[in-house]
């Protein structure tokens, strides 16, 4: 099962090496060596760090690195587009640097470090010192073998396929994003969409508060509906897509807009046309890598939107209130409440259907929360890989912070914990739902959600 999970990451790694080899022609030996070293160190580094520190920290390091590389890609793609339209654009020695062996080695080792780390994060927690050592060792060995396989494959590629540095960076970053998008804690697309959604949400609110969008009868429902669209997650998704794909599209445009070499000095027509045709062919081949990057980024979006993760999301148990208006959940029911999993319940009262859950956090603290937050539509929460996830905006919430109010956290509900179990007041529960969750739905309806 672990091997299956590793396959996409290892394929991405092989492709990265293949592109590096082609992107730095004549540096095959150096790229191979540094790629193998980078992957091995990345694997070992992740394993060591995850044992010494909370697992979240090495994952955060990888995520931050991939995020920075994406930002770098943005800068490079804008520069590439600008350069394609301006002759004699100053490169400040970048070309000389890219032609040096140092650039090839650095790229190979950096890609190897991140790819090795990502692959290592997929290794299962195995019991026993020998097994714990063997799994990363096998992974590093596989990574090294794939480097040599990539070297063999690269030799079979047509010599017409050349990769300029900007396209190489585009493809490498796309592969890293693809590789990380299948891991909840490394995925960047969902958080990006969420940031866009919340950014737009806050921006519109600022407008409302500054009365640039007056809450007046003059604002008719169709206008509210249009404004309401800005609050949906779809805006975040499409906005995220724009940010996500723009660098690759800019790289494509940069290649497309690159001027053909001047042939005015060639007297013979056939020779002139042959030079032109060769330049056009080269240009077409140069489009291959940005197109590949675009495809890989698309695959990353798909993985992010439909993660291959089985969420723990039990069907809510319907409970009823006592004549005194109290809801009781026994501590030792069919399923004990202290198993660290979400226990979902449904209460129908006061004309409402209130969903809530009980969760015991890893530090043993029990919490009762609505199955909804105060910001998003109440699509509810699921649980996976030590986190709780908001289905609507894909925000990941660490189990330790569930029970604290604010942001996309589930709305906490007052309760009493006793020896026998959890006691709640039905009216307080319904009011809490009405005041927070239903408020977001009402706002949504008013605004055309």
């Amino acid at each position: 099962m672990t091997a299956l999970k590793l396959i996409p990451h290892l394929v991405a790694w092989t492709l990265m090496v293949l592109l590096l080899l082609r992107g730095f022609p004549g540096r095959g030996r150096g790229v191979t060596l540094w790629a193998v070293a980078g992957f091995a160190v990345g694997t070992a580094g992740y394993v060591l760090l995850s044992r010494m520190l909370p697992v979240k920290i090495p994952l955060e390091i990888i995520r931050a690195t991939v995020g920075v590389s994406f930002f770098l890609l943005w800068v490079v793609s804008v520069g590439a587009l600008y350069r394609s339209t301006v002759r004699d654009f100053p490169l400040f020695g970048v070309q000389r640097l890219m032609a040096s062996p140092f650039a090839a080695w650095l790229s190979a080792v950096a890609a190897g470090l991140v790819a090795g780390g990502i692959c290592a994060s997929r290794l299962p927690g195995i019991e026993g010192a020998a097994a714990q050592l063997l799994a990363p060792l096998l992974l590093a060995l596989t990574g090294a073998l794939l480097v040599f396989a990539a070297r063999g494959a690269e030799r079979r590629l047509t010599s017409s396929l050349t990769i300029p540095p900007s396209s190489l960076l585009g493809a490498l970053v796309a592969l890293l994003l693809f590789s990380s998008s299948s891991i909840l804690l490394l995925d960047l697309f969902s958080p990006l969409s969420m940031k866009v959604m919340k950014g737009i949400h806050d921006f519109v609110h600022q407008f409302m508060e500054s009365i640039l969008i007056p809450d007046h009868l003059f604002i008719r429902p169709p206008i509210w509906r249009a404004i309401g669209l800005l609050f949906g997650k779809e805006v975040g998704f499409w906005g995220g897509l724009v940010i996500w794909f723009t660098p690759a599209i800019l790289l494509l445009l940069a290649v497309q807009l690159e001027p053909l070499p001047s042939v005015a000095q060639i007297r013979q027509g056939a020779q002139r046309r042959r030079v032109q045709a060769a330049a056009i062919t080269t240009k077409r081949y140069r489009l291959v890598i940005p197109l590949l990057a675009l495809t890989i980024l698309g695959m990353a979006v798909y993985q992010s939107s439909f993660p291959n993760v089985e969420y723990w999301d039990p069907k809510p148990l319907t409970i009823t209130a006592s004549p005194g208006g109290e809801l009781f959940i026994p501590r030792k029911g069919e399923v004990p409440l202290d198993d660290g999993k979400l226990h979902k319940y449904l209460y129908k009262g006061g004309g409402k259907e209130v969903r809530f859950f009980v969760l015991t956090s890893p530090d043993g603290k029990l919490t009762v929360d609505l199955d909804a937050c105060a910001i998003c539509k109440p699509d509810g929460y699921g649980q996976a890989e030590g986190m709780v996830i908001c289905y609507y905006c894909k925000t990941l919430i660490p189990l330790e912070t569930v029970g604290k109010p604010g942001g996309c956290n589930p709305v906490p509900v007052p309760f009493t914990e006793r020896e026998d179990g959890v006691h709640l007041d039905a009216v307080t529960l319904v009011n809490s739902w009405s005041q927070t969750v239903q408020a977001t739905i009402r706002t949504g309806k008013e605004m055309g959600k």
């Binding site: 013979q268 027509g269 046309r273």
Partner: protein, 224 residues
């Protein structure tokens, strides 16, 4: 005359039991106009197809510009035909629904990229500046053949092959086409190998070889 553009040794082409071209040793210097004569079925077109890379021999060697042609794969042969050879056929083989200039541009397209201005100039060189937009059906036989010449030379070939290019033309048109070829050869310095069964046409060349039943039987220098 410079170095040899064509060198064959024991060049043979058989179709089953029929030997269309018997072992042929031939050398053609660069820039020569070679006429190939013979009766129908004597192996003239077979020889031309082999030199043009349209067919592969059964045995023997064929060097073009010092390079062995038979070692090339299909892509290599296509590149050879595209960049090295221009061919003029008796039946013209012009695309009927394209204009004269488009027919010439089609050859440019398969060679590299089309360039209309250059195609127009080529047609003007063969005296068809006023017929650029006419389709083949709107041109006389002689005019069609001149379009074929423009098409054949547009990619600056080193070798121009003609398979009875004047076979369907009247005397006046024949002379016009041959004069045009002679003029272009002087300007472009390409080699011409022209198959014909007309002694008068063959005499336009520097040298004539005679094939009979696939065998080279005689050769003579032109006094022209």
């Amino acid at each position: 005359m410079g170095s040899m553009i064509i060198e064959t040794e024991g060049l043979t082409r058989s179709y089953g039991d029929i030997c269309a071209l018997k072992p042929l040793n031939l050398e053609v210097p660069e820039g020569e106009w070679l006429s190939v004569m013979g009766h129908s079925g004597s192996g003239k077109s077979t020889l031309l197809n082999l030199i043009g890379g349209l067919d592969r021999p059964t045995a023997g060697t064929l060097k073009v510009g010092g390079e062995e042609l038979l070692g090339r794969d299909e892509d290599g042969l296509a590149r050879y035909r595209r960049e090295f050879v221009g061919i003029i056929f008796q039946q013209h083989h012009l695309v009927p629904y394209l204009t004269a200039v488009e027919n010439v541009m089609l050859a440019q397209y398969f060679h590299s990229v089309p360039d209309e201005a250059e195609a127009r100039t080529a047609l003007e060189r063969v005296g068809l500046g006023h017929r650029l937009k006419n389709r083949p059906s709107e041109l006389s036989g002689g005019e069609q053949q001149r379009v074929c010449i423009a098409r054949a030379i547009i990619n600056s070939p080193r070798l121009l092959l003609g398979d009875e290019p004047t076979g369907n033309l009247d005397h006046k048109s024949t002379v016009m086409v041959l004069e045009l070829l002679r003029e272009l050869r002087l300007e472009e310095r390409f080699t011409i190998i022209m198959v014909t069964h007309n002694q008068e046409v063959a005499a336009w060349g520097d040298r004539t070889i005679y094939l009979d039943d696939g065998l080279l039987v005689r050769e003579e220098r032109s006094s022209r």
